[in-house]
C-alpha cells in the first residue's frame, strides 16, 4: 500500500523507479494469496467435516450394521447401504474390466504405433469425449444404448450364457450391465490419457535395446514398454476406478434405480451416487426426515472415502513412474 501511495503522489515514472519497494503492499498481497491458497485446504476439511457431522445420527443409530444390511425404508426410518455398496462396486468393476484393455491398447497404439498425422487428431477426439457432459451421455444411454442392448446383445446373452447365472431373467435394458457399459465409456478417456503419459515416460533406450536384440514391434512393446510401466498402468486403472465409483448422472439414468441385490447383471440396481441423486426430491416427503437425510450423508461420506483412497493410491503409483500429471486429471 505504501508504494502505491508514493507512486500516486509523485506521478512520474522516474520517481516510482527510485522509490523503495513498498513493504506493506507486499505483506497485504502475500496474506491475500495465502488465504486463497488455504481455501483449498479449508474446503477439503469442510467437505469431510460436513459429511461426518451430517452422518453422525445415522452412524450412532445403525453402527456397523449400516454396511451389511440391505433394507432402505424411509417410512419406518430403517436404513442399510449394502445394496448400493454392491451396486457401486459391481458396476465400477465391470466398467473397469471393459475400459482398461481398450484404453491400454489405444494408449499403446497412440504412443508406439500410430503415424504422426493420426496421433494428434485421435488424442484431441479422446479429449473431446472426456468433455461431453455426463447428462448428455445419460440421455444417449436412455434413448440409443438401452434399446440397442435390450434388443441385440442381451437376448443373445440370455440364450447362450444363462447357465452362468450372472445373466438371467427378463430385462428392460435398464440394468447394472448397461450402467457398467456407460461407466466404461466415461472412464475410457482418462485411463487412455494417463496410460499414454505413463508409456511416454518409458525411456527410448529401453525400446532401442529391445529392437537391437531383434525384437518385433509387439515384443518391444510387451517386454520393454509394458513391463517397465506396469505400476503406472495400475495407477491409471485406479484413477479410472475412482471416476467410475463417483459417476452419477449417466449411471442414474440407465441403472434402473431399484433397491435390490440380484445375481443377474441384467436386473436393475442402484449405486451410492445414483441413490443420493434419486433422493433429492424425496428427502422432505417423509416423517423420518432427519434420519433419512443422515443416512444419505453417510452414503456420501462412504463415496468420498472410497474415491479419496483410490485417488491417493493412483497418484502414488503414477507418481512413482515419473509421468507428468496434468492439472486436468
Amino acid at each position: 500500500m505504501n508504494s502505491a501511495a508514493v507512486s500516486g503522489k509523485n506521478g512520474s515514472s522516474a520517481r516510482i523507479a527510485l522509490a523503495p519497494p513498498g513493504k506493506a503492499g507486499d505483506k497485504v498481497f502475500r496474506l491475500l494469496t495465502w488465504l486463497m491458497a488455504m481455501m483449498v485446504l479449508v474446503l477439503l476439511a469442510l467437505v469431510g467435516w460436513t459429511l461426518c457431522k451430517g452422518s453422525a445420527p445415522s452412524m450412532t443409530k445403525f453402527g456397523w450394521h449400516f454396511f451389511n444390511r440391505s433394507n432402505w425404508d424411509p417410512v419406518s426410518g430403517d436404513f442399510g447401504a449394502l445394496t448400493f455398496i454392491y451396486g457401486t462396486f459391481i458396476s465400477s468393476f465391470i466398467g473397469l474390466l471393459i475400459a482398461l484393455p481398450l484404453s491400454l491398447a489405444t494408449a499403446v497404439y497412440l504412443t508406439e504405433l500410430a503415424p504422426g498425422w493420426v496421433r494428434q487428431p485421435a488424442i484431441s477426439m479422446i479429449e473431446m469425449l472426456a468433455a461431453i457432459p455426463s447428462v448428455v451421455i445419460g440421455l444417449w444411454g436412455i434413448v440409443v444404448l438401452v434399446p440397442w442392448l435390450r434388443d441385440g446383445p442381451y437376448p443373445l446373452l440370455l440364450k447362450h450364457f444363462a447357465f452362468l447365472r450372472i445373466f438371467g431373467g427378463p430385462t428392460t435394458g435398464f440394468c447394472i450391465f448397461t450402467a457398467a457399459v456407460i461407466i466404461a465409456i466415461m472412464i475410457l478417456p482418462i485411463i487412455t490419457s494417463i496410460s499414454r503419459e505413463v508409456l511416454r515416460a518409458v525411456p527410448d533406450s529401453q525400446r532401442e535395446a529391445a529392437f537391437a536384440l531383434g525384437a518385433t514391434r509387439w515384443e518391444v512393446t510387451r517386454l520393454a514398454v509394458l513391463r517397465y510401466s506396469t505400476r503406472g498402468i495400475f495407477g491409471a486403472a485406479m484413477l479410472g476406478l475412482g471416476r467410475a465409483l463417483g459417476e452419477t448422472m449417466a449411471v442414474t439414468m440407465v441403472i434402473g434405480n431399484a433397491d435390490v441385490i440380484s445375481t443377474s447383471l441384467l436386473s436393475p440396481g442402484n449405486t451410492l451416487a445414483s441413490k443420493i441423486a434419486n433422493e433429492y426430491a424425496e428427502t422432505s416427503a417423509f416423517s423420518n426426515k432427519g434420519i433419512n437425510l443422515s443416512a444419505l450423508f453417510e452414503l456420501g461420506l462412504m463415496l468420498l472415502l472410497v474415491t479419496v483412497v483410490t485417488n491417493i493410491l493412483a497418484r502414488l503409483l503414477i507418481g512413482a513412474m515419473g509421468a507428468r500429471q496434468t492439472a486436468a486429471t
Binding site: 527510485l18 502475500r30 486463497m36 469442510l46 451430517g54 477426439m125 479422446i126 468433455a131 474415491t307 486429471t329
Partner: protein, 284 residues
Amino acid sequence: MNRWYHHWRKIKSSGVSALCLICAVVVIAPLAFVLFDCLKKGASSLDLAFFTQLPNPPGESGGGMANAILGSLTLLGLAGLIGIPVGVLGGIHLSEFGSPRMNWAVRFAADILNGTPSIVWGIVVYALVVLPITGYSAYAAGLALGFMMIPLIIRTTEEMLVLVPNSYREAAFALGIPHWRIVLNIVLKTAGKGIITGILLAAARVAGETAPLLFTALGNDSWSHNLSQPIEALPHKIFIYATSPYGDWVRQAWAGALVLILFVLALNIGVRLMTRGSAPHLAR
C-alpha cells in the same frame, strides 16, 4: 523351422498392431455416436422457440428452454465470482510465495478435491448452505459450482506461472518494483493466456455438471428474477426431460443436449486454438 518361427513372430506383431488400431477406433466410436445422435435428433428440434420461450406444462408440445439457458449462464457467472479470484490468487501463492511443504499440501488437497464426485459437492453445499441459510437458490448452486472450479483453476494457474522465466522477475526486482506489482503487472500478464485457458476449461467442466445442482438449484419453469430462489439450468433441464415419459420432452432434451455439447466443445476447441503452441501443458 527357424524361418517359420520368425514369420510367426512378425505375423503376431502385425496382428497385435491391428488389434490396437481396432481398440483405438472403438474408444473413439462413442464420441462419434453421441455427437451424431445429438446432431441428428437435436438439430431437428432446435427452433427459435427453444431459445426464447419458457417450458410448457407436461404433455403440451412446444415451448423452449430459454430460462434454463439463462439460468446456466447466471450460475456460471456466480461460480466464476467465487472460483476465479480464489483459484488465481491461490495459484499465485503456490508459484510465487509458497513454501515447498505448504505447496505440497495444497496441491494434494486440490487433486483430492478434483477427484471428488460432483454429487458429493451437491450434498455438502446442501448441508452447509441450503438447509441452514438460503434454501434452494441460485446462490447455493453457484457456490457449489464455484467450489468445484477452485481446485481446477488453482492447479492450472500455478502450472502457467511456473513457466514464466525467472529472469523476468529478476529484471523487475532490479528496477525496484514492489513484489506484488511484479506479480500482477509482469508475471500474471505474461502467463495471462494460459491462465484464461485454465479458467475457460474449468468453466466448460462445471457448465455440464448436473449432480451438484440437484440439491442446490432445484429448478423451476419460469424466469429467475431473484437469485435467492430456485433456478433452472440447462443440464438439469436435460436430465428432467430425458427421464420423463413425454415424447416431446425427450425431443427437447436432445435439443438441449446439442446446445450444451456445442457450448462445452466450443469452449474446449476455442481454448486449444487460442493457446496453440504457447501452452504445451494444456494443449495436449
